[in-house]
């Protein structure tokens, strides 16, 4: 079995991981698990960025991964604070029970 480690494999893997994360966002009710699924999607994009960076021999992809990680850290802090505030007001983290903004 001769496996040539080409760009396509990384891109397909990245796409599959992104789709798994997207399905998690759509189907789960727990806000924390939705949050973790968003992290899955961000990481899938990071993987394709690094793969392209390696393929093109260009460092820009890895710089973008660095900035995506910084944004993800900021998102984690604010997102989890929002979940905490929601739980304090509504005593639940299930997103389908939180419908105060539904008209």
């Amino acid at each position: 079995m001769m496996v040539n480690l080409c760009l396509d494999y990384y891109l397909i893997l990245s796409a599959v991981l992104f789709v798994i994360g997207a399905v998690g966002v759509v189907t789960r009710r727990n806000a924390i698990i939705i949050f973790m699924s968003i992290e899955l999607m961000l990481n899938a994009v990071n993987l394709s960025m690094v793969a392209f960076s390696s393929y093109l021999g260009n460092i820009a992809g890895q710089m973008f991964v660095f900035f995506i990680m910084a944004v993800a850290a900021a998102e984690a802090a604010v997102g989890l604070a929002i979940v905490l505030a929601l739980f304090r007001n509504k005593q639940t983290v299930y997103v389908d029970e939180i419908n105060i903004m539904k008209w």
Binding site: L5, M63, A73, A85
Partner: protein, 201 residues
């Protein structure tokens, strides 16, 4: 280039002991980590207990670290462990423990939504696999060999990342510091109790 040479020596060692002549080490590692990444991602999305979900996500981050190492992105791999598997997951697990959320009884009340999600997933994967099988555009060249030939094995090292970060990307870097400051203040404001309650008590 020293790292590439040691890797090649290690390759020979691997071939000698595994008796495999045609499979190179990077491909084996890629298959291993890719399988692990998909399985742990599926576990993250499907587990009912949020804590086991979080633990699967930690495993997923380590699998991605391995994948970054097969792409010779050492700095990104290190930051992945430090930031994701370290900082972010500690925060997530802390919030799970704090809120004491139990098992999710059912996933979502809308069955049509789940059916739509399943069909959309299958369609997206089919389109992507099909287009990558059919197209020749991205090329079938071996990534590791390509980077060795182009002499670009050094682009993932900390020194090259640091040089680029503090020259070409200095403005985004400063902007990120502002973003993190804003996130810090925002998180404190959101998570603290209301000011009026504190004044009354």
């Amino acid at each position: 280039m020293k790292r590439a040479v040691t890797l090649r020596i290690f390759d020979g060692y691997f071939f000698y002991h595994a008796g495999l002549k045609t499979v190179d080490l990077q491909s084996v590692l890629f298959m291993l980590f890719a399988f692990g990444a998909i399985v742990s991602a599926l576990l993250t999305v499907t587990r009912k207990n949020p804590v086991s979900s979080a633990m699967s996500l930690v495993a997923h981050f380590f699998m991605l670290t391995g994948l970054y190492l097969t792409l010779q992105a050492h700095f990104v791999a290190a930051v992945q462990v430090l930031v994701y598997a370290g900082a972010i997951m500690v925060l997530v697990v802390f919030v799970i423990m704090l809120l004491n959320v139990g098992r999710e009884v059912q996933q979502t009340s809308k069955r049509s939504l789940r059916a739509t999600a399943t069909v959309a997933t299958a369609a997206v994967i089919a389109v992507m696999l099909g287009s990558s099988m059919l197209s020749e555009s991205t090329g079938k060249t071996n990534l590791v060999k390509l980077s060795q030939e182009m002499g670009t094995t050094e682009i993932g090292t900390t020194s090259s990342i640091g040089k680029t970060l503090f020259t070409d990307y200095i403005f985004p870097f400063e902007a990120v510091s502002l973003l993190l400051l804003a996130a810090l203040i925002g998180a404190v404001v959101l998570a603290k109790r209301h000011v009026k309650e504190e004044v009354q008590s």
